[in-house]
Symmetry: C2
Subunit: 169 residues, 2 copies
DNA sequence: TTGTATATGTTATAACATAACATTATACCA
DNA sequence: TGGTATAATGTTATGTTATAACATATACAA
């Protein structure tokens, strides 16, 4: 028998180039529906469409990119609609916003109530992944407390080179 | 004799409400001039003016705020001029940009080549201060390395309540 | 001084985000 | 079921942040 469960993607691995991303998307949408049901919030059409577009890849996507994809079939959706959908998704912990990119990415740990918002962002393939490191959070909490500061929210965004992309020589 | 030097502001203390801020500014400008001399870059009029405006307080300031202050006397400076000055100041390590605020703040550790860019930002008084914690940096480096990631640059911005401002009850 | 690199001026536009108010859909109770 | 409140979306306009492109001016060294 197996000594550990074998999910299609290890939560702690940086997304691999050729992985079955359809399963990431399906998984996220399923969990999103569950979260909304539990919280009695409504995952309406446009909200789901935006969530699906965010999950098109692991590369953070801008609000206006989402907008143009929505309108690529001749639609006339306005920016407000996208921003409102994103606001809903943020409030419900279904997506994150990356301040350093002005872009959004699907949350990889829906329901886990992390809200740590620690990210690794590859400069080459532009993939972003959550780094919700407990030791890092502890060090951060400790360092902040030493300054007499009380944390309300944190942003940790680390830019560099992912395991699948080499730094330029 | 004193067992420790007594700078007018402890580098590790969060800026106090009533401190002698003129000295912060004078200090920063002096060091900025020294850095530019050493690096053979030119601290021109507009660059110095922008740096002075950034140092008006410990509250991060937006590019267009700087612009309107520059133009408050009837000037006609364009946004480009401000952004170019800010770009120069960033490149020379004289100011930092806070991604979570789209705003700029004077570097409190000019010359120390930290480039860590770890900040504490008070939600009440809006003051921002550099954290630059070595243990935090170590934890971060470690956590990132465990994921097979190579750091190029980091953003750490912590929002909360400074030692001089109470959290809302 | 004269060429070259650096800096600034100028105009326009791109990119990101929200305000304000009208309309439509949904939930939920009488 | 119908009425009413709430939530969601539509629509128009505007605010805010940042950069592109090209012209002119200034500094500085050969
Ligand atoms: Zn995937
Ligand atoms: Zn990569
Ligand atoms: Zn000060
Ligand atoms: Zn404060």
């Amino acid at each position: 028998m197996a000594t550990r469960t074998h999910k299609h993607t290890d939560t702690h691995a940086f997304p691999k180039p050729g992985h079955n991303h359809d399963r990431c998307t399906a998984d996220a949408l399923k969990k999103a529906a569950a979260v909304c049901a539990q919280r009695k919030t409504r995952l309406t059409d446009i909200r789901r469409e935006v969530l699906e577009l965010v999950w098109k890849s692991h590369v953070p996507v801008g609000a206006y990119d989402i907008l143009s994809q929505l309108n690529s079939g001749g639609g006339r959706t306005a920016p407000m609609a996208v921003y409102r959908a994103l606001e809903f998704l943020l409030e419900n912990g279904l997506v994150h916003r990356l301040a350093s990119l002005n872009a959004f990415i699907g949350c990889a740990h829906i329901g886990k109530d992390h809200h740590a918002a620690q990210f690794l962002i590859c400069r080459v393939c532009e993939t972003a992944a959550e780094l919700d490191s407990a030791p890092l959070t502890r060090a951060l909490t400790q360092a902040v407390a030493e300054r007499g500061f009380t944390i309300d929210s944190q942003i940790v965004e680390i830019s560099g080179f992912c395991p699948h992309c080499s730094p330029p020589t």
